[in-house]
């Protein structure tokens, strides 16, 4: 373009493109520059096929297995309250968890609940968790690729994450942890962005903060996100990227205390709940003992995980150890530093001598265990097939390598496949929730005047009864609120005598020990209908205000 020409208008002058200066500080042998994942056909096909398989296995029979959990009912009911414009919960929101999790559930279930309001029950809304599982599974694949795993290993990670019987059981349930895992994976994926873009890292910070606000336990994994970002940053821009990410994370995170401030509920005070009180409660929850101490609560939780799948937990931990041990020689080990650190942190936290270990704890470890296991497998495969291999290697040695690899793969398959097949077969065929459905139906049809009936239920059944016409909150009551929420006890001046029914599910029977009103209600009632047998039975018990009154109030 010279000045003698008439003024030519170009739309855009491209910036001079120069490759970023090579850096050697991280000492990673440069992987072949990945072609864009979304334009790589084999990646798309593999990921798509695996996604379909995972969605089928997780989606089939999703409403009937596993047993409806109390927590699912809690979160979905609170999501319902959000949808109904009743605030963050239909009882007073008391800062038990940050509310972002069930706000997301409310958004996710919003359209289905518009089409059919009755479907807003735990059993039917589990379907929406498939969206979360699907996104998370794809993110595991993408993250695996971005951490320079070979395609088959990334696919393996995705399979382990999505099809392990433990994953299938837990990812089907409406747990905040599942949503938090999705955000954490997004944070990792953005942190490992191949373009090392400042705003991707900034986005990683936002995603990480969202994860924490979805389920606060994700806080412990943040160092692993940071490590991933550090490793994937470039010397010249790292400073900006990291500070940006941390700032984004902190600012979004502060919105929670800010919310409390705006509502005047940050500090404890007379007559209102507060964030500090909520934190105190969570920090001082009674411990469940040391995880390796036979007979402790934590030991029981660990056994329940191992019952569903040993491969993922034991194999994942072994994979993490292997990668740590081969840190110096293995490219894969260094590339997987982030997931490895996440596994390590979660393992250490679980080993606290007397911490509280909930059953969902393992959910946040699933993707990292899967990635580390896949990475460990890739590492072993590489060692068997490629290490110390020279160009002039004898043919029989090479064939020996392949034979060994095949043997290892067969052995692993022979152990894993039958276990998983059995676990997943149960998941797609068993019906664990027939008693719940029957109890729900009974209460909807056999009780004459639901609007004027007061009944204690566990959270999982609560929404069913709301749809059946019971008054939410004071008519159909979360059983523990009868003892713990002053707003509810105030309406029960005569204690259990002001109630009509109590639905004694396993959860209610278990927790009644510490709840005087619930306990009394069970004592002063007789079963009018029983569904299921043994420990898992659900009894609908009618309160007997006459006759057995001498049964003794304490």
């Amino acid at each position: 373009m010279t000045s003698t020409l008439p003024a030519v208008t170009t739309a855009k002058v491209p910036a001079q493109r120069q490759p970023a200066p090579e850096e050697r500080s991280t000492g990673r042998t440069t992987p072949p520059k990945p072609t864009r994942l979304r334009s790589s056909r084999p990646d798309l096909l593999l990921c798509g096929a695996l996604l379909v398989a995972i969605l089928v296995v997780q989606g089939w029979n999703i409403g009937s297995y596993p047993t409806l959990s109390d927590d699912e009912g809690t979160y979905l009911a609170q999501a319902w309250a959000v949808q109904q414009g009743k605030g963050l919960a239909h009882y007073t929101y008391w800062y038990d968890h940050p509310p972002l999790g069930w706000i997301q559930i409310a958004v996710l279930t919003w359209i289905p609940s518009l089409i059919s309001p009755e479907s807003m029950t735990v059993g039917s809304m589990r379907v929406m968790m498939l969206v979360i599982s699907g996104v998370s599974a794809v993110l595991v694949f993408v993250l695996g690729r971005r951490l320079s795993l070979p395609r088959w290993a990334a696919g393996l990670g995705m399979v382990i994450f999505g099809l392990s019987p433990l994953s299938v059981v837990l990812q089907r349930e409406i747990f905040l942890d599942n949503l938090a895992v999705m955000w954490t994976l997004l944070a990792f994926t953005l942190a490992a962005s191949p373009s090392r873009h400042l705003w991707h890292h900034f986005g990683a910070g936002i995603a990480a903060a969202t994860a924490v606000l979805t389920k606060e336990t994700m806080l412990v994994i943040l160092p692993a996100v940071l490590l991933t970002m550090w490793r994937h940053g470039h010397r010249d821009t790292r400073k900006f990227a990291l500070t940006g990410a941390i700032t984004a994370c902190a600012l979004i995170g502060f919105s929670y205390p800010l919310f409390a401030v705006l509502k005047g509920e940050l500090f404890p005070g007379g007559g209102h709940v507060s964030l500090i009180d909520g934190l105190k409660y969570q920090m001082t929850r009674p411990g469940s003992g040391f995880i390796l101490d036979r007979g402790s609560g934590s030991w029981g939780v660990l056994q329940s995980w191992l019952y569903y799948d040993r491969v993922l937990i034991v194999g994942g931990l072994a994979g993490a150890l292997l990668l740590l041990a081969t840190w110096r020689w293995s490219v894969t080990a260094r590339a997987l530093a982030g997931p490895c650190l996440a596994v390590a942190i979660l393992a250490v936290v679980a080993m606290r001598p007397n911490g509280y270990l909930p059953a969902m704890y393992i959910i946040q470890a699933l993707p990292f265990l899967a990635l580390v296991l896949a990475g460990g497998t890739a590492s072993v495969a590489h060692a068997v097939l490629r290490r110390w291999r020279s160009t002039g290697e004898k043919r029989f040695v090479t064939s020996g390598r392949y034979a060994l690899a095949a043997a290892l793969a067969l052995a692993a398959g022979a152990y894993v496949v039958p276990h998983w097949y059995e676990g997943d077969r149960v998941a797609v065929t068993a019906d664990a929730n027939a008693p719940y459905r029957a109890a729900s139906k009974w209460l909807a049809t056999e009780v004459d005047d639901p609007t004027d009936t007061r009944v204690l239920v566990d959270d999982a059944l609560w929404l069913d009864l709301v749809h059946a016409g019971y008054e939410p909150g004071l008519g159909v009551i979360w059983f523990y609120k009868a003892d713990l929420d002053p707003a509810v006890t105030k309406t029960m001046p005569r204690g259990w005598k002001d109630l009509d029914y109590v639905v004694a599910s396993p959860t209610v029977r278990r927790d009644a020990v510490d709840l005087p009103n619930v306990k009394a209600a069970i004592q002063h009632s007789t079963p009018v209908a029983t569904f299921g047998t043994g420990e898992d039975r659900i009894e609908i018990r009618q309160i007997q205000t006459t006759g057995s009154a001498s049964g003794g109030e304490r």
Binding site: M1, T2, S3, T4, A7, V8, T9, T10, A11, K12, V13, P14, A15, Q16, R17, Q18, P19, A20, P21, S195, R196, H197, L198, W199, H234, R235, D236, T237, K239, F240, A241, T243, G244, T247, A248, L251, S255, L258, F259, L262, K263
Partner: protein
Amino acid sequence: MTSVFIAAVSLALFWMAAFTLWWQMHAWRTPEVLASTRFSSPDGDQHVSFSLLLPARHEQAVLDHTIQRLLESTHTDFEIIVIVGHDDPETTAVAERAAERDARVRVVVDTHEKKNKPKAMNTALPHCRGDVVGVFDAEDQVHPELLAHVDHAFRTTGADVVQGGVQLINFHSSWYSLRNCLEYFFWFRSRLHLHAQKGFIPLGGNTVFVRTDVLREADGWDPNCLAEDCDLGVRLSSVGKKVVVAYDSDMVTREETPGSLMSLLKQRTRWNQGFLQVYRKKDWKQLPGFGQRLLARYTLMTPFFQAFSGVVIPLNVAIALFLDVPVGVAFITFLPAVTALVTFVFEIVGLHDFGKQYGLRVRFVHYVKLLVGGPFYQVLLAGAAVRAVWREQRGQNDWELTTHVGAHLTEADVIQESREDVPA
């Protein structure tokens, strides 16, 4: 009703701040972008000849030093044209002496009754013999290898205009000079490259190089515009001339911040008023792309947006905290404050990077100054913006020139300079 209004204002502010931040961080988006903002190393081949314009007015104290530095340039084909006023014998004397010493220095006398920089440079334009006209200020410290790099950039990119980096260095002088330095850092290090890429660029006042024929075709600088540099850039880029920006920390032209708060205010008022004039000249409307025109509109109006947001953001936060608005709305009112905070944090990192790039020791107290000074600097900017509108409305278009004290020169330089002055 109040809630809706507050939310709308907050969202508008948020998007403004977010875009500004996005552009401000342009150079650090990816390592590749950062690498592309540098000069590529010259190949030793030199084809372009330079005419370097050096307008000087009452700057006898620093002029000789600047000329000496320019003469140390490694490039082999350039002339220096010092432009002095007919009413300024002291500066003229310094220039004449330099011209006697070295044949590459020439002196042009500007005889305009009312003087300003564009008029001075237009006076010199017919005398330029080089292929490329470069502009420097009398107090500039120019790197000896700059010309060789610019030469290379002209040849390899086919550019019509090359803008080099300008950097204020004396961040330690005062709280406002700290912020002023950082403004330059973000502007030349980062934001200008975005403008070059998008094809709309307000050029800087010096270290700017234009092909002589392009400049003559454009009739030089606008003598009536208070931001003639910005105007030239807008006019050239609006007709599709290719502008290349390059920044290397060891190749930038070093300058000093205005010596007092008042002169900074005056300087800023002049720029703002200039931007306003450029906006009203509507040359930018010839830009082909809608996005480009939007960028032009926004960039030229920035001082006023800045003034506006500087006042409204604190007000907004106060409303959220003390007025009884719904929690959701209160959250929205915090959005602009959030972007402001992010900007603050990036400024801190920028200051650290600035220190690293220039080998300057940035102490903790400087970071504190940066943070604490932020709101006050906003007030200053807002004041300058209001003042600019006021002056423009009343038709006051005269130059309020900033005086320089030589704070960017180290003490040794100054002493050396005075020694050189003695025997001459």
